[in-house]
Symmetry: C2
Subunit: 395 residues, 2 copies
């Protein structure tokens, strides 16, 4: 063991997502377990009785240890809030203050410092709730300079930075959609690609068409970015097909799917990322995770954290909804929130706790992963390690 | 002002439930407000610009302040857990390990110390999440000694102690229901009444009939206890009627109601206490709060925290479900979780922040009460005062 090794023993349930973590649905756990962290990575896992020695030791006292959550879909670079829009929607009252464009206006006029403070507050909130990897999109700037600014800020909190110039057509291009698409896949992409790992498009009636989305994704791929798509959120549409054809890592939302879409998701090397916080906050029906899982698709869960359609940052809340309202088992939901998210980001170093994995892990104030759904709304994450370092917690 | 007075100023939204707090649906709030605590009570509320001086001052920096939550329905004296039963139910698998009776067995065999530790852990968890008053029932003992023990423990954490000998018929009386009812309303009541403020009966098919429930409640009233009823949880039944006839303060659950039940709830001096955590954890349909409110009934929200059918302790979670799935407005839900709970406990000193109220209050990491539903799953309660004392928080 390296000189900085730490043994966590007395683990009631250790969710490893084992050697098969890359497989679809490969939840795995061992009881009465131990884990050794060394050099920022997981060095060993196994039965507590066979644990090797380490420089320091910590007794989990029967609590559960899981991989940190991987939140593969979040929009954290924004200003303003839309609680009045939310309250009006819940009360069944019309509200026409502009949705995404209201956030675009507020974001454009905000200072770097204000955007950074909001972003860091949300990222810290996520970390304390167990999210050790988050993806963060631009998409509330929609000018070359504002998208660049958003991506540079996002890169301060995560390597999983996604360029979403194709979020909506901004008002100044209302009469020139083609001009905006050309900007997004031309000069804006050139300015943003060096700051990003991913490119994303909102392919939906009211946002971007299949042809527009395909053009943007193709340009992004040519610039070295991986593809992701907001697909089939508000109604049936071409999003899933466009995602598959672009070789996307993930089609996100997947609320309204045809049988052909389900077949596509089951056969493509792509994840269906479900975002139940959005259905919670909009009263759309929840996506049918059972149908996707039974067809053999890989499913991830993420928060979609944004000020309009899903302002939760809580992966445990998404897990509880997935179990209650999307017919996922507790194992499937936890796999989706950890290994599923890693797969949606094409990462093999996170989302599991096999030897060699990054030591991103959480300890619950509970004996098993089941409690994340069994005790909804209760802040159960007692401690968080990121890269082997204890970054949050009460131990 | 008394020498210990504290001024909280800069309050973005102060939910007072104003002078009309005792009225049905009397949510009230003021913006840009201040509040003075003195002698453990609220001494003054009003616009920040007109706040009087005090011995110490605290700037809320635009955050919201609300009355502490009043959780008027919880079962916290128990041992064991039932996560496997929960997971099986969610996965659609049969599970026959005995439900409430499994908890009765575990509770009877637990030490006082183990029961006390579990109870205190849950009460502390509730307090940190903003619950400044909780009701706590017995009902997992079901012998004279075990019910007495449960009530004495409950009294260590709250004055709102409820004798629930009539939870289910225990196995040793399986062949003698009448004998158990006689015990509950006779010697067990005599032993338990001095430890309790309330008596409760689970009036439901599979638990106690209308006649049995009425007999138990009448004996409890004669012994000086206030009445409450578990009513209409699992199907239509006589629970609401029995509650009204017994002069109960609250009929709890109210999931399956006839029009006559709704009329009864709207006209009796009784609260309909809704427990959406139970529907979340059992996949029963949520109670129709809108129907009750539109009929003029007073509605409370509570957690039903227990290890079987609702293991959440979070009032914010219940508020979010009430807004999303029960068609309550955010104002109605917050009133129900504060003033509604107070009314269900027939308390006028809590659930509002009028001058003279007990200084039980919470500060959110958010500018308004709306965020409790707008940001579901996020631990927004930043600080908690109980009787004027800061008992939990990050300020």
């Amino acid at each position: 063991m390296a000189p900085d090794s730490t043994l966590i023993t007395g683990i009631g349930e250790l969710v490893t997502n084992g050697p098969g973590a890359a497989d679809r649905g490969g939840f795995a756990a061992i009881t009465d377990a131990a884990l050794v962290i060394s050099g920022g990575k997981v060095a060993w896992t196994g039965p507590a009785a066979r644990a090797p020695a380490a420089d320091s030791a910590l007794d989990a006292a029967g609590r559960a240890v899981l991989p940190g959550f991987v939140d593969s879909h979040a929009h954290l670079v924004f200003a303003g809030e839309r609680s009045a829009e939310f309250a009006a929607r819940m009360a069944g009252r019309p509200y026409t203050a502009g949705g995404i464009l209201a956030t675009v206006r507020a974001t454009r006029s905000a200072s770097d410092g204000a955007l950074r403070a909001n972003l860091r507050r949300l990222a810290a909130e996520m970390l304390a709730a167990g999210t050790t990897t988050l993806e963060c999109k631009s998409g509330y700037g929609l000018t070359v300079a504002d998208e660049q600014r958003g991506l540079a800020l996002a890169a301060e909190v995560t390597p999983e930075v996604t360029y979403l110039g194709a979020h909506v057509v901004p008002p100044e291009f209302a009469g020139d959609r083609a001009g905006y698409v050309d900007l997004v896949r031309g000069p804006m992409l050139a300015a943003c690609a060096p700051l990003s790992r991913w490119i994303d498009v909102f392919c939906e009636r009211g946002a971007f068409s299949a042809d527009e989305a395909a053009a943007v994704l193709a340009a992004g791929r040519a610039a070295g970015l991986g593809a992701r798509v907001h697909a089939n959120q508000l109604g049936p549409g071409p999003g899933v097909r466009v995602a598959a054809e672009a070789g996307a890592a993930s089609a996100d939302h997947c609320t309204y799917l045809t049988d052909a879409d389900v077949d596509t998701l089951a056969s493509a090397p792509m994840v269906a990322t479900l975002l139940p916080g959005a259905e919670f906050a909009t009263r759309h029906p929840y996506p049918d995770a059972r149908r996707l899982l039974d067809a053999g698709a890989a499913v991830a869960l993420a928060t979609d954290c944004n000020p309009g359609s899903s302002f939760t940052s809580s992966m445990p809340f998404c897990i509880a909804l997935a179990v209650r309202d999307m017919r996922m088992t507790t194992q499937e939901a936890v796999w989706a929130a950890t290994a599923g998210g890693a797969r949606a980001l094409r990462r093999t170093d996170i989302g599991h706790l096999g030897a060699g994995a990054r030591a991103d892990l959480i300890m619950l104030d509970a004996p098993s992963h089941t409690y994340l759904a069994y005790r909804p709304g209760v802040p159960l994450v007692a401690a968080v390690w990121q890269g082997g370092r204890l970054v949050s917690g009460r131990l």
